[in-house]
Point group: C2
Chain length 355, copies 2
DNA sequence: AGGGCCAGTGTAAACGTTTACCTTGTGAAT
DNA sequence: ATTCACAAGGTAAACGTTTACACTGGCCCT
């Protein structure tokens, strides 16, 4: 149907091998011949068929990407980072969405493997005891994880120290005088990192001698949280004054829900998010959050993966630094004065690097 | 290297044709034989190679997606819509990013064509006189546009009536008593829809007898707009009291910039956005905006494309309804009273359908 | 003069599928 | 008993590349 390398060869009066060699620069071609071939390509409008090439070379120059959702900008940023990093290496991204679901994860990975992607970068619900990753390990196709907790030996994982970050959030709340903490999180079964953040948060609260925070699990895509919030804030006596949300999108929903419940942020309730999505800094009140370098995490994961594809050895976990960004959603506890309390300077606090 | 259909055939003691036929259900296979083949597949861990299949069938079951950027949630939503719609048809998405740049657009499209995608859905800078689309037309690969203005005859385009929407924004500003309007937009050369919105906005202002709004172009990825804003709001006499931003991300940046300039929204300046991204409704003040059904637009474009791939004829433009969402960023003009002015009910106003 | 080397090119066999075309066996219809 | 139709399966030729191997001249060495 369309014009093939054979047509080009015939038109330029050379063999297909010569055309192929010119195209790939795999062997020298006389400049005069090259000229003729280039003309033929131009005139005939030849477009190399990567499918044919892939079949022969068993390299597709496609990289698989599997993320839980595009609705969360944090993943969009990551994909964007992966894209810019791999594009210049000549790769194109093939896309899978898992919807925070282990079965869909398997389905997506299996599909990408059938397409014979050269490698993939993904975020899974939980890397330990994960069927999709077992599939990948068995296939021998290299991959890199982003955001997940390092738990598989020999697996490249790019992430931040979620647990310590969670602890810092508790510290921050405590330093603002909060005693009754709570955490609202997406399902732990669907997010190992949320679990780690909770562990750190609880440990941090305990270290400060505070009562164990109430922990509330919600669905990742839930937008109306008023029911859950109402129950959490019902017992006026024991209602928390500070809430840690496992990610920024959730925090934004929570702030909205609190507003509809008549609770003001930060006067009545302080809120901390996680991720550092761009809009958090632009909303009012600005969102206090743990900033992950999402785009850079994507880039780094891509870099690691490409490194392995070029024969490099699998690196261990890569822990990138996070940052605490102070915001107007966190205020002092127990001071129902109408004046907005000014937060002590707490910005740009460096996270830990890998040990 | 990996196990092929030939291995399966040998193990099950049948010909490769039979295995292939079973896999594709293209012809009947005795149940007993099918059983044996399935066992062989299971035991050997056979995973069909889509590359081989594609080469033979000249269908890759991949769809190309080209968008300007992932940083804008509106495109992330659209991709998400495309994904859910096409996934169930058995397609997987191959990804290209153009960065609002015509040359990169060509590069992305050319790359996807080499991969022999079965079709593509894209948003281009401007569909008229667009080299990337010329490439596509010449290739004969079907495609659908999203967000772009319908301008190419015979090209499926899914969009909203941007011009009328722009007019409605002007109307809305006028009804709040604003006389001096302005528009801040991404480069018109990089967005035909921004141009359409401006045209409508100007026409609307004129229809209300207002002075022509000042129009300010900025880069799409610009985050610090203070310079531009400072100049726009410098002449205290002629400073606008209402600003229409060509998209929500820009509106959010503008609100932030205004704040740093000491201008309050909506007390000093009213702001209208465009797109209806989710966070707009969650921020404070809530963002007044024109809501496009982004996800649905992606789905619809995908639906149209799949329809054509199944032999359907190219449909004309599909104009989906938009909605005006009122928000706290719009207030009454010229009333520097400290009390927040309550907006008249202006919500959920239906846009026009296709003629 | 003979050999060796190298640049430049051609030939043809893969890569993993699908599918047009054949072959066989079986049962029903004549 | 012959024919016919049909279900089930096999054979082998594509699809568009890459690349191992072979070949030809020309040049440089001795």
């Amino acid at each position: 149907m369309s014009v093939t390398i054979r047509d080009v060869a015939a038109y330029a009066d050379v063999s297909v091998a010569t055309v192929s060699r010119l195209l790939n620069g795999s062997k020298a071609v006389r400049t005069e011949t090259a000229e003729r071939i280039h003309q033929a390509i131009e005139i005939l409008g030849f477009r190399p068929n990567i499918v044919g090439r892939s079949l022969k070379t068993s390299r597709t120059m496609m990289l698989g990407v599997v993320i839980p959702s595009l609705a969360n900008p944090v993943f969009a940023d990551t994909v964007s980072g992966i894209e810019t990093e791999t594009r210049q290496e000549g790769y194109t991204l093939l896309f899978g969405v898992s919807g925070y679901d282990a079965d869909d994860e398997i389905r997506a990975v299996e599909a990408l493997l059938r397409y014979r992607v050269d490698g993939l970068v993904l975020t899974v619900v939980n890397p330990e005891r994960n069927a999709a990753l077992d599939l990948l390990d068995a296939s021998g196709v290299p991959y890199a994880l982003v955001y997940n907790q390092p738990s598989r030996p020999g697996t490249t994982t790019v992430t931040v120290d979620n647990e310590t970050a969670g602890r810092m959030v508790a510290e921050s709340f405590a330093s603002f005088g909060h005693h009754r903490l709570a955490m609202i999180s997406g399902r732990f079964s669907a997010s190992d990192r949320a679990s780690a953040r909770r562990d750190g948060f609880l440990a941090g609260a305990r270290a400060r001698g505070l009562a164990d925070p109430v922990v509330l699990e919600v669905d990742f895509d839930s937008h109306d949280l008023e029911g859950a919030l109402a129950s959490l804030f019902a017992p006026e006596a024991g209602a928390p004054s500070a809430v840690f949300c496992s990610n920024d999108m959730l925090a934004i929903s929570v702030i909205g829900g609190l507003g509809r419940l008549g609770l003001r942020v930060p006067e009545d309730v302080s809120v901390f998010g996680f991720d550092g999505i761009a809009v958090g800094a632009h909303m009012h009140p600005t969102l206090a959050t743990v900033v992950q370098p999402s785009r850079e995490m994507g880039r780094e994961a891509a870099r690691q993966l490409v490194g392995r594809l070029n024969g490099g050895l699998p690196a261990g976990p890569v822990i990138l630094p996070y940052t605490l960004r102070s915001g107007e959603t966190v205020g002092n506890a127990c001071q129902p004065s109408p004046t907005v309390s000014r937060a002590p300077d707490h910005s740009v606090q460096q996270g830990k690097h890998a040990p």
